[in-house]
Symmetry: C2
Subunit: 271 residues, 2 copies
């Protein structure tokens, strides 16, 4: 077993329609971590999920997702505080934040200012509960409708005013692989202690028409996975490595099969 495989974490969204408790069982059997999503956690029950992972000795490596606070209303902040509480109850170190879209009538800059405001409102709350807010830059094809944070460098700049234990970043290969500054930004993220989550997904060509659900299985695309793992490791990061694939074809298949295939692909690309 490679040292990378010991760090494998299966994000539940990779087999989105697989019963969450079965996914947790599969992770327990294989010594894997798991990345969870709020809606399935609610469905199984927060306390029940927390008990299952604790009893099974499965590490919840992240909870998805908070964010959508480009309009940082009191309601949006409250919703994110609930997500922080859930993250803490699950024993997960990080709450993944997808920042949200440009607002109707607003600008890209005003949306980005909203994100900075929301982080300021949430950071102390998260720090008190031992949760790191993990800012996820999304690929720039999602900037207008999903996440105005588009690069790792921008995420680090947004995190900078806050303590690293309160606000970090997600390094997700799918979203950042094209960036000419990516290697410098990964080194910077490590040096600043900001890597709160490390996720893998591949970029396949041609880009599937449904861009939201076209993330490739590891090894099916052009991203140099081992190089990313080595670069992140070189910063001193020794945490879990999650695989999160939004992919219509994977979602149509049985969860156990997707889990095994993904774990095998992970071992292969990092070997």
């Amino acid at each position: 077993m490679s040292s990378f495989l010991e760090r494998f974490s299966f994000n539940h969204a990779t087999a989105k329609f697989w019963d969450q408790s079965e996914a947790i069982e599969a992770c327990a059997r294989t010594g894997s971590g798991i990345g969870l999503w709020r809606e399935p956690v609610q469905e199984q029950g927060l306390a029940a999920t927390a008990k299952q992972v604790r009893d099974a000795g499965v590490q919840v490596t992240s909870l998805c997702r908070g964010g959508f606070f480009t309009d940082p209303t009191p309601a949006a902040i409250e919703e994110n505080k609930r997500a922080v509480d859930e993250t803490a109850e699950l024993g997960a170190p990080a709450l993944v934040l997808v920042s949200g879209p440009i607002l109707e009538g607003g600008t890209l800059d005003s949306a980005r200012e909203g994100v900075a405001e929301a982080l300021a409102a949430l950071a102390p709350y998260a720090a008190e509960r031992g949760v790191t807010l993990a800012i996820e830059p999304l690929h720039p094809m999602f900037t207008s409708d999903r996440c105005v944070v588009a690069t790792l460098g921008q995420a680090l700049d947004l995190a900078a005013p806050h303590p690293a234990e309160a606000v970090g970043v997600v390094v997700d290969t799918y979203h950042i692989w094209w960036d000419p500054n990516v290697w410098n930004d990964i080194a910077r993220a490590g040096a600043e202690g900001r890597i709160a989550s490390f996720q893998l997904a591949d970029w396949i060509t041609p880009l599937p028409a449904g861009v939201l659900t076209g993330r490739g299985q590891l090894g099916d695309g052009c991203i140099e996975m081992r190089r990313y793992a080595d670069a992140v490791d070189a910063t001193g990061f020794t945490g879990p490595i999650e695989v999160e694939l939004f992919n219509d074809d994977l979602w149509a298949r049985p969860g156990p099969e997707v889990f095994e295939e993904t774990r095998a692909a992970f071992a292969r690309v990092l070997s």
Copy 2:
């Protein structure tokens, strides 16, 4: 007539299936410039096209396109030299370069090195003929299959080893609007004398399924066009402003109608 409208240039690709000579006539009637493409120029004939624009007093503001030289073979370099010659014969100041994809069996880095090599091979040839090679960064959703140059900053870094009259960059709002560094990079491009072409197209949400042909009519999306025009102007750039829209809906409509609509949208968003 606003000073911006006097600088309007209609890229022929905006009405892709409109007869080129008719498009040139429309530009002549309205005092517009025109951006041309190599294939329609070949179809009408290079000498005939050059004669028509000269006689009509229409400025060819750019020729599209060279590039696709991530594998900088002698054949690729020769093809680009021919494109430089055509640009010179049309009296256009700039040849737009779409750099090309990641190669089968190659990496993103090796493709980017290929681009640097190709530029070194072509820059003296272009300079001798009074043509500027205009490196166009494309939106990162095209990095794997079309253009490994993904940001304006990266394009400027690639241009840096060469004289500004030989190698410049394209500032195209559609490709760069999401970039947190875009305002700094535009200022840098101007300060370094590298703005060889300035193009407008809008980003519409949701992103159309055919991402290559989903560029929005000016004003239909989220890009702050006037802010871009002002930022480019503030660098001292006084050249033409091209509108280049790859859009299936526009392509299905009559050229004259698309021309008038585009010119009106241009005047509106820059007013």
